[in-house]
């Protein structure tokens, strides 16, 4: 069978081909929206027309058969149109209120989790993990599944003070949005890379390996035509391994998960904020990482109990102070929490103002 003529540099199909008619007609004319339930909302146009959106969770890692099922639903209810959100949910849109209930019913019948709209937990932005990445210190999809099972009510039903964005990255490259998330998990190493001198010699460029290290822990080992690591300088970032595959850093016993919290990207009320470290290490305990899900629950509980309406996790912490956060959650404050790198100076408490805990 001969292949069709390949084309190059044509870019993606123009989005206009894919817009549902009610969207195309009212493009740029929306006036306001209302959240109708955890999984449904309506947007109202200047023209008076409305679009109803129904959102459902996906695990992001989808089989083609699953996509075909989404397509079938879209064909049945939405004229064959559908979209995905920036957090990997699937959205079905209809142009009349009467079309919402049947759509939701079908989704529920098929056991889809409808929800994620409004002040709730939406889907987890995450990464490849053991399913596909050589760099992973943990799995991403499994962690997401374990966490979302545990907090699913906040997706499908219960409200929170505001949206809580959860993210997972399987290594410090942080392909997810971990560094600015309300609650995020990141796979971390605790031990330095192991050097396979023979492979370094054959597969790696020594100067770029050396310069990849942010702490200058790596130096040449000319005798072996390889490199050596000053162990006490290594902070296990794995950047050398990204550059030189002969320096594997994965370590089944000591790889684990760090939890960072309080980040956001929206500009509402407070500026976008980086997440901060709250638990430096939890062992990898697949398949369901109970210590991790427990810690996430602790954070959520303290947030629900303490935050004012509209406060994001970081805004709540900002108000009660980090010492308040450690008090409310009971997490232990350790040496690892104290910055000793790029931002260290700015994190020291240069004030006599702190709260007793």
């Amino acid at each position: 069978m001969s292949l069709p003529d390949r084309q190059t540099d044509i870019g993606p199909p123009h989005y206009s081909k894919f817009l549902p008619p009610v969207i195309a007609k009212n493009y740029g004319k929306w006036l306001y929206h209302e959240v109708l339930s955890a999984g449904t909302m309506v947007h109202v146009s200047e023209s008076g027309e409305k679009v109803y959106t129904v959102r459902a969770a996906t695990p992001r890692l989808l089989s083609t058969d699953r996509i075909r099922e989404f397509c079938a639903i879209a064909e049945k209810h939405c004229g064959g149109h559908l979209r995905f959100t920036s957090r990997n949910n699937v959205e079905f849109m209809v142009d009349a209120e009467s079309k919402v209930a049947p759509l939701v019913k079908e989704l529920n019948d098929k056991k889809y989790m409808v929800g994620g709209i409004g002040p709730r937990i939406s889907n987890v932005v995450h990464t490849q993990g053991w399913v596909h990445c050589h760099s992973a210190a943990t799995d991403a999809s499994g962690l997401v599944k374990a966490i979302m099972d545990d907090v699913h009510e906040y997706f499908t039903d219960k409200e929170l003070p505001n949206k809580v964005r959860i993210a997972v990255a399987c290594c410090v490259n942080m392909c997810g949005a971990v560094h600015c998330s309300d609650i995020a998990l990141v796979g971390v190493h605790k031990t330095p890379p192991r050097i396979d001198d023979n492979n370094v010699k054959n597969f790696c460029e020594v100067p770029s390996t050396i310069s990849s290290c942010p702490t200058s822990a790596i130096s040449p080992d000319p005798a072996k035509k390889s490199v050596k690591i000053k162990l006490e300088k290594c902070m296990y970032c794995g950047n050398c391994y990204s550059v030189c595959p002969a320096m594997p850093i994965a370590d089944a016993k000591n790889d684990g998960i760090a939890i960072v919290v309080g980040g956001k990207v929206s500009n509402l009320r407070s500026d976008p904020t980086f997440s901060k470290l709250v638990v430096p290490w939890i062992p990898n305990n697949p398949p369901r990482w109970p210590e991790v899900t427990d810690a996430v629950q602790k954070i959520l509980k303290a947030y629900v109990a303490g935050a004012k309406k509209h406060e994001r996790v970081g805004e709540w912490i900002d108000r009660i102070g980090w010492e308040g956060f450690f008090r409310e959650t009971g997490f232990e404050f350790k040496y690892q929490h104290i910055d000793d790198f790029t931002f260290a100076r700015e994190t020291f408490r240069m004030a006599a103002t702190f709260k007793w805990s």
Binding site: P13, F18, Y32, F84, W130, P272
Partner: protein, 393 residues
């Protein structure tokens, strides 16, 4: 295909209400040997608590320097189906809208040439086809490109730009995010497909400061819609909100600039002091709307924490009209890239380069004037440089 591997650990992850990626892998495994072995391979990772993927080699399609991530198992003998398991990054349409016809066609092709597994979407925004062998890359590309699809970016190239859905369904969009994203993508096809940068470069476009695409955290250039002039107020709707919410506590007291007032009857905003954070608008969408002079703020530099800590993008152009043909915008981007090409080290993101060579120098070199909007605060130390022309001889 019939089940090849026992997966007791993964099976645990089919329990519970959230949709399971294991179920997806099992669905794909029904017609794909690759996915069947992926299940076994992943189970082993779970058991041993360690990844079994090797560093990917460079694979791809003819004429392209990116778009495919090479991936190989380190135990190919045990799992031949994933000996090669490359991912293909297909450039998503702006806004992530699809028709079932288009998606189904892609699914059929992927069942034919790949594992039947996908990521919808990858974190950057690509429609990621997860797992195929080297020899299938070329035919898969021929099939999809002939149907109007193209690859996204990887390596030291422009990465697939992505955006929030903007004007398509959101009342707050100040710029046409989807049109801009598509235009940038088309404008820079060469930069996307033939890696020639010091490192990766990402665009993300949000219609307003709510930033539903997280652009400020993960795009070398973040384009964020904004406005000048007064927030539009519908006082009747304010009255309606007053019946259902505590406007004082939820809005006035939470306005970060303290520039709002509500006397029970009408709402006043001191627009000169508003910083357009979007809180009041988002929580009172029927009553408040962005002003009418709309455009974007350009911010530069965000990236993940490797190697000296994460950066968020920061303001380099406070306000720019983003209207076709976007000349002023493209001129600036070209200048920025030129500067980065000239000075950037290998694997140095633009934000890191600016940090290394200094923000004032960047501004001078690309021809931007300093503006207080670019900084949260002026410098605190008394150490600053002068040019020859500033010196009395």
């Amino acid at each position: 295909m019939s089940k090849k591997h026992d997966t007791p650990l993964l099976d645990e992850l089919e329990k519970g209400p959230f949709p399971s990626f294991v179920t997806e892998m099992k669905m794909a495994a029904k017609h794909s040997d690759m996915s069947n072995d992926l299940l076994g391979h992943t189970e082993l990772c779970y058991k041993e608590r360690v990844t079994h993927w090797k560093h990917g080699g460079i694979v791809g399609v003819r004429g392209y320097g990116g778009g495919v991530i090479g991936r190989y198992s380190d135990i190919p003998d045990k799992f031949p189906g994933v000996a090669h398991f490359h991912t293909v990054r297909v450039n998503c349409p702006s806004g992530f809208y699809y028709t079932s016809a288009a998606l189904k066609e892609m699914c059929d092709l992927w069942d034919q040439y790949g594992s039947g597994m996908t990521n919808v979407h990858g974190s950057t925004g690509d429609l990621v086809f997860l797992g195929t062998k080297t020899e299938h890359l070329e035919p898969f590309f021929a099939e999809i490109s002939s149907r109007g699809w193209d690859l996204g970016g990887s390596g030291s190239a422009l990465r697939t730009p992505s955006c929030c859905l903007g004007k398509s369904r959101c009342e707050w969009a100040n710029i046409d995010t989807m049109a801009i994203t598509n235009d940038i993508t088309q404008h820079y096809q060469d930069e996307m497909h033939r890696p020639a940068f010091p490192y990766k470069f990402k665009f993300k476009i949000a219609g307003c400061p709510v930033d539903c695409i997280a652009s400020i955290a993960r795009a070398d250039m973040s384009i964020i819609g904004t406005w000048k002039g007064p927030i539009r107020i519908n006082q009747d709707e304010v009255q309606n909100y007053a019946k259902k919410m505590n406007i004082q506590a939820e809005i006035i007291d939470m306005c970060p600039t303290g520039c709002m007032a509500f006397d029970g009857k009408s709402m006043k905003i001191d627009n000169a002091n508003c910083n357009r954070c979007m809180h009041c608008i988002a929580k009172m969408t029927k009553a408040l709307r962005p002003g009418t002079e709309q455009g974007a703020t350009l911010l530069l530099g965000s990236k993940a924490p490797i190697v000296t800590g994460a950066l968020m993008s920061w303001v380099i152009v406070p306000f720019i009209k983003m209207e076709p043909p976007y000349e002023e915008f493209y001129d600036l981007i070209d200048k920025i890239w030129e500067w980065w090409d000239e000075h950037g080290k290998n694997r140095e993101r633009i934000g890191e380069l600016i940090e290394r060579l200094s923000f004032p120098r960047f501004l001078k070199d690309v021809g931007l004037d300093p503006h207080p909007a670019m900084v949260k605060e002026p410098r605190r130390d008394p150490f600053f440089f002068w040019d020859e022309s500033d010196i009395e001889k």
